[in-house]
């Protein structure tokens, strides 16, 4: 049976919900609120003049339009690639899934500006690759990526792993018999996909799409690298433009623009929620076997096609990055006699900040993933069972810190935390302010996939445990966590990877000793050391590869479906 408990459940649960909810609100919404205050208070009194002024500028409106276009279409690109890969990897008997999944996660591992950089490197007239192949376009030919299309393409590629990971978690929960029922009714091929499989994964798909859209909306690196040269500003680059200005109302203007981005993100989320409101897909917990489709004779062609796509969209830019890191100066061709590891040596072993940054980023990323898992799992479950007013409001706003451009969030964190109330102490300048910023920022990335999978969880699973007397904590540990583990793992992986080379948030929050990898890469690139930046970016890829190998070794100890490259 399948109904949510409205007013049942214990009072302790209600209290627990309020407690966790308050913590979560403090963590995520407080900085946003603080920032908002900045935008509506002018010299100590509330005023909307500035807001009106900023919102009526043509540059704001066109940036809004551009943001909607690039984030929207970029999401579509991510959807196409992410879905195709998720379906095939999660449900069929492809070979070498681990390698494929790894390649799919590469975009998440490379900071967006580096992605953009490597693409411009392989596409432009100075492309090491094209030069090496001898097919470089003549000098002065335009860079095709400096265009809205380029932004859309790269946003799409950058974020397809989000769709992939969240959707895969949902696909695992489709019981075989439901699809069999469609096939025996005569539904063939794509029809089964479209009418049965896709609707059933809708919660995860919607969650993935929402996160992707919000990520694309707040992305700064790609529109900055590709849009600024083309004179094509999106909201985040407009924010940056304001920051580069010299006026006194900078913060207030930025705050207004941030609110605009936030409003777009929240409306996106609300639209998604509206379309999903009637869905009750209690699939997780079905004792049926999970869906598995043999590809048969189609396997080889499909594999070739997938690897072809991977090659074109992932391996090539990676190669560009690698090539750049192997030549002594930017713009030189890669030949046997020009190859050198000096940049690698320099960045990895000579610069002390690199090692520190590895330690910091690893600690921050894994800490944030863990902390978020601990908060989000009970919170998502309690919110699913008790739909209080506050919970619903929080549900629509929790994406805000993620949607804001990172710089803006870090400004908000500084405003909020530079003076801790009632004390002399400050978190500013310590690693904790970065940690808190990460927790705020990546809350949605962890919460949404878990929420989607809990929406699909058959309440009878929990009820059965209740009826044998299991307390809330035990049920969470023994029943709810293992059943939503694939989604929680997807969330954790996403948080870890994004936080591991995150730049824009830590950019304003780091100080000497608390550098993050993103900051180090950016600073290298910023001071002209593109080669070293590429070498470091490649190192990150190798480190993550090693981590994945470690996970593979431990995979037997995890609940089923946690490791994304296993079915």
């Amino acid at each position: 049976m399948s109904r949510t408990l409205q007013n049942g459940g214990s009072r302790t649960e209600a209290r627990l919900l309020s407690a966790i909810l308050i913590v979560a609100i403090c963590l995520t919404l407080a900085p946003v609120l603080r920032l908002f205050v900045e935008g509506v208070i002018d010299q100590g009194s509330p005023s909307l003049t500035l807001m009106r002024e900023v919102l009526s500028q043509t540059s704001t409106l066109s940036a809004l339009k551009h943001s909607l276009v690039t984030a929207g279409l970029g999401t579509v690109v991510s959807l196409v690639f992410g879905c195709a890969f998720a379906f095939l990897v999660a449900l069929t008997d492809l070979r070498a899934k681990a390698a494929l999944v790894f390649c799919l996660m590469i975009p998440m591992m490379i900071p967006p500006q580096i992605t953009a950089l490597s693409w411009t490197q392989i596409m432009g007239p100075s492309s090491v690759l094209l030069k090496t192949l001898g097919i470089a376009p003549p000098l002065g030919s335009p860079q095709p990526l400096y265009s809205p299309q380029g932004i859309i393409l790269l946003l799409g590629i950058q974020h397809m792993s989000i769709i992939f990971l969240t959707l895969r978690a949902g696909l695992r929960s489709i019981p075989q018999d439901v699809v069999e029922a469609a096939r025996i009714s005569g539904a063939k091929g794509l029809r089964t996909w479209w009418q049965v499989v896709v609707p059933l994964t809708l919660p995860s798909l919607a969650a993935g799409t929402a996160i992707t859209f919000v990520t694309a909306l707040g992305n700064f690196g790609i529109p900055a690298m590709l849009g600024i040269p083309a004179g094509y500003a999106t909201l985040p680059t407009l924010v940056y433009q304001k920051l580069a200005g010299m006026g006194t109302t900078v913060l207030a203007e930025v705050s207004v623009l941030a609110m605009l981005i936030g409003a777009v993100a929240v409306s996106g989320i609300l639209v998604q929620r509206y379309f999903q409101s009637r869905q009750k897909l209690h699939l997780v917990g079905s004792a049926s076997r999970p869906l598995a489709l043999p590809l048969g004779a189609a396997r080889l062609p499909v594999e070739i096609a997938l690897w072809g796509v991977v090659c074109v969209i992932l391996v090539l830019p990676m190669f560009g990055l690698l090539a750049t890191s192997l030549v002594p100066a930017y713009g030189m061709p890669l030949r046997l006699d020009t190859v050198t590891f000096s940049l690698w040596h320099e960045v990895l072993f000579r610069q002390p900040a690199t090692a520190r940054a590895f330690v910091n980023s690893f600690g921050l990323a894994s800490g944030a993933a863990l902390a978020l898992m601990v908060i989000c799992l009970p919170l998502a479950w309690l919110m699913e069972r008790r739909k209080t007013r506050l919970a619903r409001i929080f549900d629509s706003l929790l994406d805000l810190p993620y949607a804001l451009p990172g710089v803006v969030l870090s400004i908000a964190m500084i405003l909020l935390l530079i003076n801790l109330p009632f004390t002399e102490a400050t978190l500013y300048g310590t690693i904790w302010i970065i940690f808190l910023a990460y927790v705020a920022r990546f809350f949605a990335v962890m919460f949404r996939p878990i929420q989607a999978s809990l929406k699909q969880l058959d309440p009878a699973m929990d009820e059965a445990a209740q009826s044998v007397g299991a307390s809330f904590r035990r049920r969470l540990r023994d029943v709810i966590l293992p059943l939503s583990a694939p989604a929680a793992a997807a969330g954790a992986i996403l948080v870890f990877l994004t936080a591991f080379n995150e730049l824009t948030v830590s950019a304003l929050l780091w100080s000497s000793g608390t550098e993050t990898l993103g900051v180090v890469i950016f600073n290298l690139d910023d001071s002209g050391e593109t080669g070293m930046a590429s070498a470091l970016a490649m190192t990150i890829v190798f480190v993550v590869m090693a981590l994945m190998a470690l996970i593979q070794l431990l995979s037997r100890r995890f609940p089923k479906g946690v490791v994304p490259w296993q079915t």
Binding site: E38, S59, S62, A63, H66, Q121, G124, P125, S126, L139, G140, S141, P142, Q143, Y146, A224, M225, I228, P229, A230, G231, Y232, A233, Y240, Q241, L243, A244, G245, M246, G247, T248, V250, L251, V254, P328, A329, Y330, G331, M332, V407, I411, I414, L415, I418, N419, T426, Y428, G429, A507, L508, S511, S512, N523, D525, D526, S527, G528, T530
Partner: protein, 303 residues
């Protein structure tokens, strides 16, 4: 005893500066944060807004920003004894800020092109239509100063920029991006800061830097003391050190043109006398900043 420094010098340079200062002033520690000017200013703005600005000393890209801060009362005036050796145009009369080096913006081109430009005017030549890159004043403070300088010049003025727009010049983000576009040959002509081009050329990049015959615009990486400074004495020592001959030698060492009179130039630069500086007034530039940006955006269709 310690001071906090916010600087936009590249990492290695900042380290050298601080090390040299400590060597010269034993007993004064320096906490320093290095970042791009935009980010540093964003950070500083947030700190000021929250009522707790951290730095004692700023050493950042341009005088216009500092002029603005001085007008807001965020800087404290200090008459450095070293000021005498500096051109009056290179520091604020009240002593709010002092320039430490000259970073000029000139022409750059990829060595793969057929004709080398020699003057600003050459960029308006129709034969190189669509092959020009420059930093955007919307995103870069230095570029805004460049714009203010060139449009303020009687012989160039806005007409020059109109010509550039006609020639499909592209306003890249900052100097780094512009340089890359030129070095990669994507846009073989551009305007860029001197050291970037000259240093990379020395390392083998296929570019050439030109000091145009009309003269160059410049930014000066000024130093200033916050009015909220907690260690005013240490901060003043730091300013004095930067302006001193030792401090300026350091600048030379790093490959920039020192601001102090009577110093040499780094390798690869023409003699100081041969570098013609165009006239520039920070207060004027600050006043016109918004109007200039708006006009630029309109000309270059930045949306």
């Amino acid at each position: 005893d310690s001071i906090t420094l916010y600087t936009s010098q590249p990492n290695a340079d900042a380290q050298k500066t601080v090390d040299a200062f400590i060597a010269a002033n034993p007993g004064t520690e320096v906490e320093w944060v290095r970042d791009g000017t935009t980010k540093l200013m964003a950070r500083l703005r947030a700190e000021i807004e929250a009522g707790n600005p951290q730095p004692d000393v700023l050493l950042i890209a341009d005088t216009v920003t500092l002029e603005g801060m001085a007008q807001e009362g965020l800087l404290s005036a200090y008459k450095s004894p070293e000021a005498a050796s500096y051109d009056a145009a290179l520091h604020s009369p009240e002593g709010y800020y002092y320039s430490t080096k000259l970073i000029t913006t000139g022409l750059v081109y990829n060595t793969g092109v057929e004709t080398a430009p020699t003057s600003w005017g050459d960029l308006s030549d129709a034969s190189i239509k669509g092959q020009i890159a420059m930093p955007s004043p919307l995103y870069s403070g230095a570029a805004l100063i460049h714009l203010a300088t060139l449009t303020g010049d009687a012989s160039l003025g806005w007409g020059y920029y109109e010509g550039l727009a006609e020639n499909d010049a592209r306003a890249q983000g900052g100097n780094g991006g512009t340089f890359k576009a030129v070095a990669s040959g994507e846009k073989p002509y551009g305007m860029v800061v001197d050291f970037l081009a000259i240093r990379n050329k020395a390392e083998g990049s296929p570019v050439e830097f030109v000091f145009p015959k009309e003269g160059v615009s410049y930014v000066t990486e000024p130093v200033a003391i916050m009015s909220s400074a907690k260690n005013v004495e240490g901060a003043q020592k730091f300013v004095d050190f930067l302006l001193s001959e030792d401090g300026q030698d350091l600048v030379l060492d790093m490959g920039y043109i020192p601001a102090r009179d009577g110093m040499g130039v780094p390798e690869g630069f023409p003699a100081r006398e041969d570098i013609k500086l165009m006239a520039f007034d920070p207060a004027e530039a600050l006043k016109n900043a918004e109007a200039n940006k708006a006009k630029f955006a309109e000309l270059f269709g930045a949306e």
